[in-house]
Symmetry: C2
Subunit: 139 residues, 2 copies
DNA sequence: AGCAATGTTGAGAACCATTGTCAAACTGCG
DNA sequence: CGCAGTTTGACAATGGTTCTCAACATTGCT
């Protein structure tokens, strides 16, 4: 490799430049506290006067997700939905109607998934766990 | 609510006619013990000499899923994948590489999800829980 | 400021899994 | 056989997501 990487620590694989577009996506995410599709996020940005290409919204959301700054999951139609979340491992309780989301943690569940996987000799684990329902408001 | 169909005859909402195509899909499913996409299932049917339209494969898989005779979940790309499963509620431990699948049950997890949801006043619940990893063979 | 190197953007095309269309073929039941 | 309702399949249409690539922005350097 030829990377120079001045003063940085080791292999700075990618520098995330602060652009107007990325700030707009971050701002839009901050405006929601529930899961939204890329389209909805794109729409909100437009409605706020800013203009960001849809492809850029997708790119930004993906890289934020990889960086662990947003959570991405799929609704029942398989569409990706996104939400800025706390950075610790957690799961979600999501309202099927309005999207209202509660972050939940379950140490016992984490232990259980690991135990089950180990028991069957599976390694390099990951898991998905989401609860869907109708929130008190939507009833 | 308006649901009729008291266990027996009532409003037989749909009669599943045994056609050559539906038998072919069922046979293909029986030939796998791991999750496969509709395309893969369609391919296997073709390779076996049978010929079933892709749309029919989708239709059959969907109705089987609704009937609870197959499980459908989404891989990390959001594509639907299907597998014939036991008819009791369970989750899956899936090999990310070869697809090898283990059905797992966790009464404690079921209780936990219900408790969490109730605690926040959510009703009409459902949940997804899948564990992904690398199976012993694939290591 | 000027400049070169490299990362970023966006309009639109391309992808591709999934669903819709609808006339033709099939099934269950007399 | 003949009818009524169901199912099928070739193909079009959807729609979310990714790709393309030339124009543009940012960074680092002089
Ligand atoms: Zn709600
Ligand atoms: Zn977890
Ligand atoms: Zn494997
Ligand atoms: Zn469960």
């Amino acid at each position: 490799m030829t990377s120079t990487d001045p003063h940085g620590g080791g292999t700075q694989t990618q520098q995330r430049r602060p652009t107007r577009q990325r700030r707009a996506v971050a701002a839009a995410l901050a405006g929601f506290d529930d899961f939204r599709s890329a389209q909805e996020i794109h729409d909100l940005i437009s409605r706020q006067g800013d203009s960001v290409g849809l492809a850029t919204v997708y790119r930004t959301l993906s890289s934020l997700a990889e960086a662990g700054e947003v959570d991405m999951l799929r609704n029942e139609d398989g569409e990706a939905i996104w939400r800025s979340c706390s950075d610790t491992h957690h799961h979600h309780l999501v309202c099927r109607t309005c999207g209202a989301t509660v972050e939940v943690e379950g140490p016992a569940v984490e232990r259980w998934t690991n135990a089950i996987a180990a028991e069957h000799g599976y390694a390099d684990l990951s898991h998905t766990l989401e609860i869907f329902g109708t929130c008190p408001t939507c009833r």
